[in-house]
Point group: C3
Amino acid sequence: MVTDIEPSVTVIILAAGKGTRMKSDLPKVLHTVAGRPMVMWAVEAARQVTSDDHIAVVVGYEADQVRAALPAGVTTVLQADQLGTGHAVKLALDAGVGAGDGVVVVVPGDTPQLHGSILAGLADSQAQSSGGVTMLTAELDDPSGFGRIIRDESGDVVGIVEHGDADDAQLMIQEVNASVYAFDAAALRNVIDQIDTDNAQQEMYLTDTVSLLRDALGGVGAMVGDPADSLGVNSPAQLAEVDAVMRERVNSELMASGVTIIDPSRTYIDASVTVEPGAVIYPETYLQGDSFIGAGAMVGPSVFLEDSSIGAGARVWYSVVRESKVGPSTEVGPFASLRKGTVTEEGAKIGTFVETKNTHLGVGSKIPHLSYMGDAKIGESSNIGAGSITCNYDGYEKHDTVIGDNVRVGSDTMMVAPLEIGDNAWTGAGSTISKDVSPGALAVERSDQREIPDYDARRRKKADGQ
Amino acid sequence: MVTDIEPSVTVIILAAGKGTRMKSDLPKVLHTVAGRPMVMWAVEAARQVTSDDHIAVVVGYEADQVRAALPAGVTTVLQADQLGTGHAVKLALDAGVGAGDGVVVVVPGDTPQLHGSILAGLADSQAQSSGGVTMLTAELDDPSGFGRIIRDESGDVVGIVEHGDADDAQLMIQEVNASVYAFDAAALRNVIDQIDTDNAQQEMYLTDTVSLLRDALGGVGAMVGDPADSLGVNSPAQLAEVDAVMRERVNSELMASGVTIIDPSRTYIDASVTVEPGAVIYPETYLQGDSFIGAGAMVGPSVFLEDSSIGAGARVWYSVVRESKVGPSTEVGPFASLRKGTVTEEGAKIGTFVETKNTHLGVGSKIPHLSYMGDAKIGESSNIGAGSITCNYDGYEKHDTVIGDNVRVGSDTMMVAPLEIGDNAWTGAGSTISKDVSPGALAVERSDQREIPDYDARRRKKADGQ
Amino acid sequence: MVTDIEPSVTVIILAAGKGTRMKSDLPKVLHTVAGRPMVMWAVEAARQVTSDDHIAVVVGYEADQVRAALPAGVTTVLQADQLGTGHAVKLALDAGVGAGDGVVVVVPGDTPQLHGSILAGLADSQAQSSGGVTMLTAELDDPSGFGRIIRDESGDVVGIVEHGDADDAQLMIQEVNASVYAFDAAALRNVIDQIDTDNAQQEMYLTDTVSLLRDALGGVGAMVGDPADSLGVNSPAQLAEVDAVMRERVNSELMASGVTIIDPSRTYIDASVTVEPGAVIYPETYLQGDSFIGAGAMVGPSVFLEDSSIGAGARVWYSVVRESKVGPSTEVGPFASLRKGTVTEEGAKIGTFVETKNTHLGVGSKIPHLSYMGDAKIGESSNIGAGSITCNYDGYEKHDTVIGDNVRVGSDTMMVAPLEIGDNAWTGAGSTISKDVSPGALAVERSDQREIPDYDARRRKKADGQ
């Protein structure tokens, strides 16, 4: 167990809803924000206050899909019928989640902006309180649709009224429930069975526990948070807004660590991507999935990178790179497409109008222009002439091409795979090479050059109809 | 005639001016906003309250150019000398426009933000009024340059004073004339001849009708609108602003309909483009002219599309597509250029570093890489090897290439047109094919591969000067 | 000397610091803003009030690097030990800078937004004043970190207190020192030796001269400026902000001059670039270094241009252009890469998937697709077929290819350099041309096309394991 983790904190993440207003069959919590499913943002926040074995996710709609997106060590609880947030928490408690003495934090699964530090603050505050719950609230200019916080004359919280159940005076209240709570575990277990479905939605509201706990233990704690940090995503438009906010946060953290991002508003970096300090990211760049950018690398403008690594000091621009490893000090682009399984060693070059797939390029080897290399293994210090192609597909199957060290492949060489070209070998420009080439030899496939004199004059006559 | 159209409404669009401050020889109303000429935005708004035969456009500067941009059914009236807005409307009335009893709506041709719903509101309001005119106004922080609305003590509009004719007290007024009016047709005809040119501009102001109508009929109606909806474009900077506003409106409407636009601020969609719900548009994408995107298609990043359609479920990225039809589930790019007359059927592929022109690609056929196909007809399930080219230009004329079904064109095949390659035929890699190929046959043009041993050693010696 | 220059004004630019908070080994003043090193922005501002021989730059950290970025006519003064701004100015005065009667303006080297007009205003104001100094101030919401302006009851400036030396009352002052001063030269020389290092930083503060000059000559002048114009760059984040501001200023000035920039927020134009009125710049375009865009040219979307010129009426899109000259009415792209030394004449074309290097393309000549031309000289009205390549590298050295006028190079022609193809000559598609071609002749290197019947049937059998 990590030292700075509070073992007595349990986090329950509510992730059972479909999110009908998202206009999508994908469970709401699986929509991604900065490339990470929303429910995983909640898990990452939870991990800042507890260990995986103290994190429980209540799943329901497309439960298996949601489970598949979660880390192995996290507990899931199935809420087959969606009878409200109170019901969801009850199911978790019934399943033994938060069984000890400590604090139970409940968070929505659709609030990616929520910092772990806010959960820590709530949990700490609750741990030091004699009351049963400490909740997060926010003040909104337009509180419409949110549960309102009811306070008494002395300013103490006495309960929450859902929008649909509020009277006119309550509708004027601008302080709303952010739906994040830290409960005393034992107290929560005592009241959870008392909540009912006697309300507009006919659901078990978790919010009802607040007044129950106040009646039982007095003093409800409340922390007023920044609305930007705590409000959930309920529509495609809100998803787009939160995505922008979180991408800005990812970019800001990278910049603070020493990464140069020329124009953050035009740079899309997934939360899952590692970028070392000293890297420079130009605009119109997408870094996605399990990707890595080394120190001093220059990436962009106009790069799409997916599940790939870029070595220190490499330069990649105007290119698409997928499931590949670009070595240190390698140049890629402008206008290259690296497909799955491309690996380059130090100082290699994949230049302009070059596509590669399942190809290994050794130290200092270059494919400068207009080539396709597929299923190829190229040694060190070799040069592939412009217009060269591995004919790796025989119409039925793919075959390999092996090119040695210090090879000079002439321009427009067709390499009909399976093929092996030995170290120090050469091929003649315009040759179709279908038999292996011995080390040090020149292989050439060519006829004699012939000249037909006065061809132009005759063509002109013909074109003139003579 | 469409059911929900009010036949008694006539709309006069004022589009005669050059727009000197635009610093361009193009008539101001032909500058485009979200890809549509400004005057056509006015026509589209007018179409929401009446039929084309009740829409008249007053043209003057470069009248023929403006006429050419208008739908056939719309009336145009020539204002040869530009003697003011009152003069323009008078010419239209004299030509018989708005001859009946109904309402005459007058709108500027340079106000693309103006919703048809605003025109409808004005016309309805006027139709129910006993007065002679209902006008649109706006309240501005800086009213400088605009005609001011003069109201009496009871708040009723009594007239309009142009900026150049206003006294100091009038210059303090922040409510301005938005230059959009709904007139009682008969009343307008009665007063239009009474307006004169006794003012700072020495022009016939349409605004003078307002006080004349008040004197004749009392009660001038006024609706205060959003300044953002009604102020005209008078400079390149304002054009850029309005263009941004209208593009945002186009994007918002698409998003509300179920289209996903990843970053609306980086997506340029003309108002003329249809995008089906379920399509996803990535940044740096331009969709222009008469274009269509089908449901589930993924377009972008970095796509320039002009007068083209993308079928349902297709993916197009890092590509330029002009006057082409991309079929359903077709893959295009990264890095492809589809020129005029490219048509693909379902499940086709135009891959990386591929250019096509006037080429038809059958169901499931693929041109994966580094190829140019021009004036070609390719059947179903055929594969074009990397580096293949249709030599469609003989130096004088273009010729066609016909490739059958299930053809395997080897890499780097030159197809010298006119040429026909039969069904199930193959070509050898690196072959120049200048004669037709029989169905099922392999055509090859190649010499024997020779090997010159120890070539590298000799070259090294030579390079070393030995 | 230029007429509107005031010879009695001397400008001292302070550029000795490393700028530790920039987290970079590059001297702070060499970080670029809109492509121009910050210290050169200060020099350009200074040039609006004086001539180069009256501009002195105090250098220190990496002095040689900073000197190399400065124009030849500007004086530099070395501050080996960085003992404060007062010390820097003292060294300059000791070296004879500002020796005459006039005004000495002191500006920081890290304030690129500072307009020359502000320096002119300060210098004029000081020249007409009986006091010893006129300074620029700014009012900040958060003055933290800045020297505060101390005024007496009548509002006159009496001195400046650095943040680290301020008491609680002084810390509340929001008016801060913008670190830009116009001194009476003689008065400054009189007091510069009196400032000491008795302060929190143990440095000689230039700010101390203010109270000394007030004591000596009374009345300190102060102009309150816009904070946005005068605050320095002290972190990568501030650099990014100022860079955005200055790029916006560059774009605004171009637009005001008649250049159309479709989306200024997505267009990166260095201050060093000239763009003629009537040019149109599309988004995602980078214009860098010593570059020029002619009237009527259309550049972008997605163009990276470095040290290159684009002729009037040319169109360049989706391309990278470096150290090249694109002629008038030339088409480039989509998807072209022009490398160092590419020059095109009027009406030429470098099309799609074409790379060029050190290549001259004559009037009306075209390289439409999929070609690499390196070290080539191509005459007028010639056409290079798709897939053609100059094999300019023999494995050891680069060689030239010379192509005449009206040449028709067939598709997929390999031109093995050194090579000369005469005027009006042709080459056959798919030929490797390694010997010179006579004018008007057709050169071809090709075998006979053979056909192997029923190949497909046999391949199918084999694939089926029969």
